[in-house]
């Protein structure tokens, strides 16, 4: 079982939450009853935003890839575009999504939040640099549920930071970026900044980070981070 710290933390969130979010936390607390990674459904997620400031910028696309039994399941992979107010502006050059694409058949920011919570219901989310993504999602939960999103996630950046610090004590600039981390595990080079590809890239990195042993032998606690 995950340590009391995580479970109590989540119970507190559950106690304070209402409606949909409460249900979500309740289901997540089932996951924390496990004590190893084995058998825990995971979802690798990446969000693309118009910028890095959650107060101004908005989410424009989401990619998710489920991870089950230590494997990425591409059959469950999804990529969704999200409607924004105003224009994609400069960020279009990074993620290649232009305004025209955003106008057709896209979810609103709120719809996206509901959809994402549905997709990750009873699962642990896996991010690379989850703090940024959670901050953006948190802003949306404040709008919809009047509560910030506060929950344990898996963060490949945090895992990597811990490893690098343990091994070398110095973290060089840029050495924790997704591509740089993947390089250390000799993972193939992917074109970055498509939410789905980045989600898969993040999922693969997590597989690589945890491949040294069977998941049943890896304590869940080692991989939980709160933002």
């Amino acid at each position: 079982m995950a340590s009391w710290r995580h479970r109590i933390g989540l119970s507190y969130q559950l106690w304070r939450a209402q409606d949909g979010l409460a249900d979500y936390y309740a289901e997540l607390s089932q996951v924390l009853k496990k004590d190893s990674l084995a058998g825990i459904p995971l979802v690798a997620i990446d969000l693309e935003m118009t910028g890095l400031n959650a107060q101004i910028d908005q989410i424009i696309s989401v990619g998710i890839v489920p991870i089950e039994q230590q494997r990425l399941q591409m059959a469950g992979a999804e990529h969704r575009l999200v409607a924004i107010n105003g224009s994609v502006g400069q960020s279009a050059t990074i993620h290649g999504i232009v305004d025209r694409q955003l106008q057709q058949d896209v979810m609103s920011q709120q719809e996206m939040l509901h959809w994402l919570l549905q997709q990750t219901y009873g699962k642990l989310m896996v991010f690379h640099h989850g703090m940024l993504d959670i901050t953006f999602l948190s802003k949306l939960t404040e709008q919809v549920f009047n509560r910030p999103l506060h929950l344990p996630i898996i963060d490949t950046l945090q895992i990597e930071q811990r490893r690098v610090m343990r091994d070398r004590h110095v973290i060089e600039h840029g050495s924790l970026r997704l591509a740089a981390c993947r390089k250390r595990y000799k993972l193939p080079i992917y074109v970055a900044h498509n939410a789905l590809i980045d989600a898969a890239a993040c999922g693969e990195l997590f597989l690589a980070q945890t491949a040294f042993n069977a998941w049943s032998k890896q304590p869940l606690d080692d991989y939980l981070f709160w933002f």
């Binding site: 990619g63 230590q70 494997r71 990425l72 399941q73 591409m74 059959a75 992979a77 999804e78 990529h79 595990y185 000799k186 993972l187 193939p188 992917y190 074109v191 498509n194 789905l196 590809i197 898969a200 999922g203 693969e204 597989l207 690589a208 491949a211 040294f212 042993n213 069977a214």
Partner: protein, 615 residues
């Protein structure tokens, strides 16, 4: 999901055989349904499960497949597969897959794997063949005739004449006269709109009483029948006779790139090798023979580019060498006078087997009807020297091992040749036998056949069912083994070492020649050509039909690769060699070549079992 979303996965799969054969939809379906795993060296082996078989595609890292006896079966890198045998057979997993380097692996589940096999025949065939280790090339069943399977593109002459449709007929006719051609392409804004031929000038201008001032478009044959550059010469012949025409504009991607005429086809039909042989037979002195033999490399290249079977190429080139040898004998005899006794000029090795290719050296000898006296000796010495040095001048360099008629050791009477062979057969000293094996591939090039038959019959009588000799010969034939396969940019040897390339002759074709020789000598088969030996061995029942066909296919495939490789080297102006670099191979070729090596390896094991009673 947008179909471009999984680009990194799709791009990777689209590069490797047999996924590159899948339709866009099938490939997309495959990408969407794979699962991705990462295997760490720390866990040592990939847990293959019999209950849940998968196709494993290596995306990165390195793996090693070992069989139940822990013998190395294969080493796998990016773009290689494992796990499919139990997927196809449903049988228990017997191999283990060791993780050499951490790696990312894509898994295809049975349901999707079966669906892909249903949707794409070549996908299905690829894995079934890899599983059955069988090598069946469609090539084998296509009835190919070198000349008629030539591509049109090989006939196009570079001097393409085109005229604008608004030019006058006079201008067009002058251009045709200047270029010595009987036809011109007519272009309208660069697009083909017709052709103008001698016949048009006669029928549509002169006979109609028109002057040369009329515009080309009034005189031309509009919207002519055309042919694609990729078509076969044969198809051009059909079109011409069907439409009763003599000119066909050649199109490539909608653009006229040349013209073929019936004359071009007749010229190509007159079959280069035959012409060359006739030319050889016409020459009256050595310098002109040397000049003619300069065409031989070109002949080889044109046969390679016409995609002829390697067996045919070997036969054709050898027949040219034979003609050259015969001509040299005749020319030398014209100087020396008639021979004092009957003799046979023997060809050994590749010329004997009729599988010569580029850079052949000469292996030959003289078989004489009787013992030599001093006079006869000096006659044959002079004859052999003349012929051997003539061959050397024509590009067939002196044999480094001195197995040549001009060497007195290999100029012997029938009796002494018989003794020589008997010595090898009755006392098969492995080392001596290794050097002697090429003598068993002998063929008469010049001289009375019955003299040769007398020798060959006695040799085969001695070898047939001769257990001790055959065991020794088999020992020699299995000293070298084909490589295991490819790993990254290297060729993987059976002991796991890596080399930068592979000698397709000595580690491929030569091994099959050795195997076929053992079978032929064991059954008293007179053929010396390897493909024919295999066929006769099957007929004689000493070689299992399926194994025999596989071996013949492997021979053809490796021979083809060797020639294609030399064709490439020729194009890049490199010196020709038998050395193949694995990075020059397509994914499919690599897999097929590995299959061919497996066949050779299995055949070696089979003769070892059959003739040496060992494993």
């Amino acid at each position: 999901m947008d179909e471009t979303e999984l680009l990194p996965i799709r791009n990777f799969l689209a590069e490797i055989a047999p996924f590159n054969e899948l339709s866009a939809e099938s490939l997309e379906l495959c990408c969407r349904n794979i699962s991705i795993g990462y295997y760490s060296k720390a866990s040592k082996i990939v847990p293959l499960s019999t209950d849940n078989p998968m196709l494993y595609i290596v995306r990165s890292g390195a793996f090693e497949v070992r069989d139940a006896d822990d013998e190395l079966v294969d080493r796998l890198g990016e773009g290689d597969y494992f796990g499919f045998p139990s997927l196809l057979s449903g049988e228990a997993v017997s191999n283990t897959v060791h993780i050499l380097e951490d790696g990312l692996v894509y898994h295809v589940a049975p349901a999707e794997f079966d669906l892909l096999r249903l949707q794409c025949r070549s996908f299905d065939r690829f894995f079934n063949r890899a599983y059955a280790k069988r090598l069946r090339h469609e090539r084998r069943y296509r009835n190919r005739e070198t000349v008629t399977t030539n591509r049109i593109s090989s006939l196009i002459n570079s001097a393409l004449l085109s005229v604008d449709h608004n030019e006058t007929v006079i201008e067009a006719a002058r251009a045709m006269r200047h270029r010595h051609v009987s036809s011109a392409l007519v272009l309208d804004n660069g697009k083909l709109c017709g052709i103008l031929t001698d016949r048009d000038l006669r029928n549509r201008v002169l006979a109609e009483g028109l002057t040369g001032e009329v515009a080309v478009h009034q005189a031309m044959t509009p919207s002519p029948v055309t042919i694609e550059a990729k078509s076969l010469v044969f198809e051009a012949m059909l079109l011409m006779s069907e439409h009763n025409i003599h000119h066909l504009p050649v199109m490539d991607a909608g653009i006229a790139i040349g013209m073929v005429t019936s004359t071009d086809i007749i010229k190509s039909q007159s079959s280069q090798p035959i012409l060359l042989i006739r030319e050889i037979e016409r020459q009256q002195d050595l310098p002109s023979l040397i000049a003619v033999s300069k065409q031989i490399p070109e002949l080889l290249q044109s046969l390679i580019s016409a995609d002829a079977r390697s067996e045919e190429i070997g036969r054709i080139l050898t027949s040219v060498t034979d003609a050259l040898t015969r001509r040299l004998i005749v020319l030398n005899q014209a100087l020396l006078g008639d021979a004092p006794m009957a003799f046979c000029w023997l060809a050994f090795g590749s010329q004997g087997r009729q599988d010569q290719a580029a850079c052949s050296d000469q292996d030959n000898g003289l078989l004489l009807a009787e013992e030599l006296d001093a006079e006869a000796k000096s006659y044959f010495q002079a004859l052999a020297q003349g012929v051997c040095s003539g061959l050397n001048d024509c590009g067939y360099v002196f044999c480094p091992g001195d197995i040549m008629a001009q060497n007195p050791t290999w100029m012997m009477s029938l009796t002494r040749w018989k003794q020589k062979f008997a010595q090898w057969v009755e006392n098969p000293e492995p080392k001596a036998l290794m050097h002697a094996s090429i003598f068993f591939d002998m063929r008469p090039v010049f001289g009375p056949v019955n003299l040769f038959d007398a020798l060959q019959d006695s040799v085969l009588q001695g070898t047939k069912d001769n257990d001790i000799f055959l065991a020794a010969l088999t020992g020699n034939a299995t000293l070298e083994s084909p490589p295991l396969g490819f790993f990254r940019k290297f060729v993987l040897e059976r002991d796991g070492t890596e080399v930068k390339g592979i000698d397709l002759k000595h580690r491929g074709s030569a091994l099959i020649n050795d195997i076929a020789r053992v079978y032929a000598l064991s059954a008293g088969i007179k053929e010396v050509n390897t493909a024919k030996r295999i066929k006769r061995a099957i007929d004689a029942g000493v070689l299992n039909r399926k194994d025999g066909l596989n071996l013949a296919d492997a021979l053809e495939f490796i021979g083809h690769m060797r020639l294609a490789n030399q064709g490439q080297q020729f194009e890049h102006r490199q010196s020709l060699s038998n050395y193949l670099k694995p990075q020059d191979l397509s994914s499919l070729m690599r897999h097929q070549l590995v299959d061919a090596f497996k066949v050779v390896h299995d055949s070696q094991a089979a003769i070892r079992l059959k003739f040496m009673r060992s494993f």
